[in-house]
Amino acid sequence: MKGCGGGRLAAGAVLVFALLVLFVTVVPAGAQDAAKDPAYRHFPILGSRLAVWAVAQLHLNFAAFILGCPIFAVIIEIIGWRTRDAKYDWLAHEFVKLTFAAFSTTALLGAFLLFLFVGYYPKFWTYMTSIFFPTYWVYALLFFAETFIVYLWYYGWDWLSGPRKWIHVGLGVLSNLVGTAILFVANSWVTFMISPAGITESGALKGSVWAAINNFTWMPINVHRLIANIVFGGTIAAAYAAFRFLSAETDEERARYDWMGYIGNFVALSAFIVLPFAGYWLGREIYAFNQTMGITMMGGFMSWLWIIQALLIGILFLGSNYYLWLGMERIPGSERYRKFVPPMLLVLTVGFMIWATPRSMVVTLDEARAMGGTHHPALGFFGVMSAKNTVVNLMILTTFLSFVLYRRANRVSTKSWVRTGMMLQWAAIFVAAIIVVFYGVYGYFVESMVRIGFSVYQVLAVLSAIVVVMAIDIPMFRGARSTGTIRWGTIAPRSQYVLILLAVTFTWLMGLMGFARSGIRQHWHVYAVLRDTSAEAVTPALGYAANVITIVTTVFFLLVSFIFWLGGLSERGNAGAHGHAAPVISGASDPRP
C-alpha cells in the first residue's frame, strides 16, 4: 500500500513538473510562432470554438472541485482535531481522497486547454501573453507549490498525526491559501477578457500588469467562484456519498454515507445561501464597467438565459429544502416542526414561479394583440428584477429557516429566556422579510439605477437576520435536552436521488454561467479590444449552448465516476488504510459541525 502510494506520488510529481516545464516553454515559443501564423486554425471535426469550450468547461469543473473540496475538508479536520472525534478526521480524509484523485486530471485538462489556445487561437494567445506573461510564472510556481502541499497533506495524514497534527492542519490551510491564489491568478486572465483595464486604446499595456489584473470584474468573480467552488465541492461530495449509500450493503455503511451526504449538503447549502449576493455584486460591476454589456447581458439576446438560471436555482432551493425535510424524519422530536413545512413549501414554490416568469412572453402576433403587447398585463409585473430580487431573498430566508428547524429538531432548549429568544428570532426574520418586500415594491416606482441599489438593502436585511438568529440560536441551544439521537442511515432512499439532482443541477448551472460569462463578450475575444474575426465568432443560441453543456457535463460525471472508482481501488479490502478505519455512525452522537 505504501509502495503504491509512493509510486503515485512520484508519478504525479513528474507529471506536474512536466506540465510546468511545458507551460513556461510553450508560451513564449507559441507566442513567437503566432506572430507569423494565421490568427486561427481549424480544430478537426468539432471546430476550434467547441473544442476550447468543452475542454475549458471540463477543466473548470475539475478545478472547482479540487479547490472547493479542501476548503471544507480542512475545516472538518480542524473540528475533528479539536473535538478529538475520529469520525471527522475520517470524513476530512475521505474528502481529500476525492480531491486527490481528481488532481492530475485537472492539470492534464489545463495543459490541453493551453495547447488549444496556442495552436488554434495563436493571435489571441499572443495578445494575452503580451499583457499577462509575468503572471504565467506566478501561476506555474503556485501550481507547483500546491501540488507538493496537497501530496504532503494527503500522504502525511498518519505521519503528521497525534502531537504533530497541528502541522498537518497547517498544511491543509496552506494548500487552501495557495489554491485560492491560483484561482485569483487564473481569474485575472478571464476577467480581463470581459472587462479589460490598464491598457491603451490600441490594447497595449499602459503601465504595470497589476492594473490589468485588478479590473472591474476580477474581485467579484474571485469571491463568486470561491463560494461557488465550495458549493460545487459540497454537492459532488454529497453525490458521491449518495451513490455509496445506495450501493451500501450494511446498515453501518448506509449510516456512514448518510452522514457524509448530510455534511456535504450542509456545506453546499451554507455556501449556496450567500452565492446570490456575490452574483449581485458581479452584476453591478459589469454594469459599472460597461452599461451596454450589462444591458446586453440582462435585457439583450441573453435575457432568456436568466429564466433558465432561475429554473435551476429554484430546483436547487426546492431540492435542498426537501432533503432537509426528509432528513428531519430520521430525527426523533422533529415532529413538532412539521407544521412549518407546508408554508415554507408555499413560499418556495411561489418564489420559484415568480423568479421563472419571463418579462416578455413567446406569443403569436394575434396573442400579442389580444394581450396588448408581449408583456402579460398581470404576470408581466413578475418578470422584472424588483420581483425577482424580492423572491430570491425570501427563498434564502425560507431555506435558512429550514436549516434552523433541522438544527434544533431533536433539541429542547433549557434556557430560561428561551421564549424571549424565540420571539426575537421570529421578529428578525419577519423584519427582514418586510424590508425585502418593501424595497421590492418600491423598486417599481424608481429608475433602474436607484432600483439596482435597493438589492443591497434587501441583501443586508437577509444577512442581518441570519446573523441575529444564529447569534441567539447558538447560546440558546447550548446544553439543550436531547429528544433522541439521529438515526443515521434510515433516511428515505429518494433523499439520495435529491443529492444527485443537486450535484447534476449545480454542475449544469456552472456550465450555463460559464456560457453567460463568455457569451457577454459576444464577438470579442477581449471586449472592445481584440475582435473575434474567426468564422466561429457567432455567439450561439441557448438551445445549442444547452446541448453542449449537457454533453460536457455528462463527460464530466463519467470521468469523475471513473476517477473516484480508481481512487477507491487502493482502499478496497483495506478499510484501515492510512490508519483511517471507517467510523461507526449509526445512532451515534449528533454530528452537527
Binding site: S202, F301, W304, V362, S448, V538, L542, A546, T554
Partner: protein, 265 residues
Amino acid sequence: MRVPVGARVGLFALVIMGSYSYFANSIPQIESKPPEELSLEGGNVTPAQLVKAGEQIFKTKGTCEICHRVGQKGTRAPDLAGVGARAGKTKPGMSGKQYIIESLLQPGAYIVEGYPPIMPAVDKPPIALNRSELWAVTAFLESLGGTVDVTLDDIPKTAGTAAGGGAPAEVKLPGDPKAGEAVFAGKGGCIACHKAGKIGASPVGPDLSQIAKIQTPDYIMRKILDPKGMGTVAGFPPGVMPQAFGQTLASKEYMDLVAFLLTLK
C-alpha cells in the same frame, strides 16, 4: 431483475440534464452574430438608401434599440420619435444634424433630463461604427420628423478611427500606385464596374473616387480578397464582385492595386 445502482443513477442524471436541454431548446433561440461592416463608398447613395441603411444599423450593429425606442417611452433612454424635428432646438446655436452627431460621438455632452448618462460613444469599441455608418445613422435619426441633409463631410474625419478594436496604426504599404492603376484598368478588370477618379464610369459598383478618405486600408485590402464576407454597399446588388482576386492577382499586383486605391482621396 435488479438494476445496478450505477445504471439507475446514470439514467436519473441523464433525464435531469435532458430536461434542462429540452427546456432551453423550447424558448426563443437568438444568436448574436458579429456585425457586418457597411461602406457607402464615394457618397453615391440617395437619401432614401442612406436612411434605410441607417435604420438597419440602428437595429443591429449600433445596438441602439437596447435602450432607445421610436414611438415608445423608455426608462433608460429617450424616445427618438420626432428627434429629427426637435434636435435643432435642443442646443442653442447647434443645427439638428450637429446635435445628433454630437450625441453619437460625445453622448455625455448633453444629457436629456430624467435619464442617466449611460450612452457609450458609438464610434468607439465595442459598437465601433465607422464614418459611413455614422453618416447613415445620422440620416436615419434626421428622417424621424426632420429633413435629411447630412453629408459625409459633416462626420468628423477622426470619428470611427478606432472601429474594429483599437486605433489602427499608420500603414505604409510597399505597392506602386502607378502599377496599381494599370491593374485596376487592366488585369483586375475593376474598371468594368467602378469609377476611380478620372478613370472608369460604369455605375455597376460604387464610385471609388474617394475610397481612401472613407475607408481604412484594412477594409480595402480585405474587401478585394473577400468581397462577399465584407458585405455589400447599400443600394448595390450583392454577389457581383468576383471572389477570386486572391487567386488571380499576384501578390505584387495586389499590393500595387491597394496602393493605387489608397491614393483616391
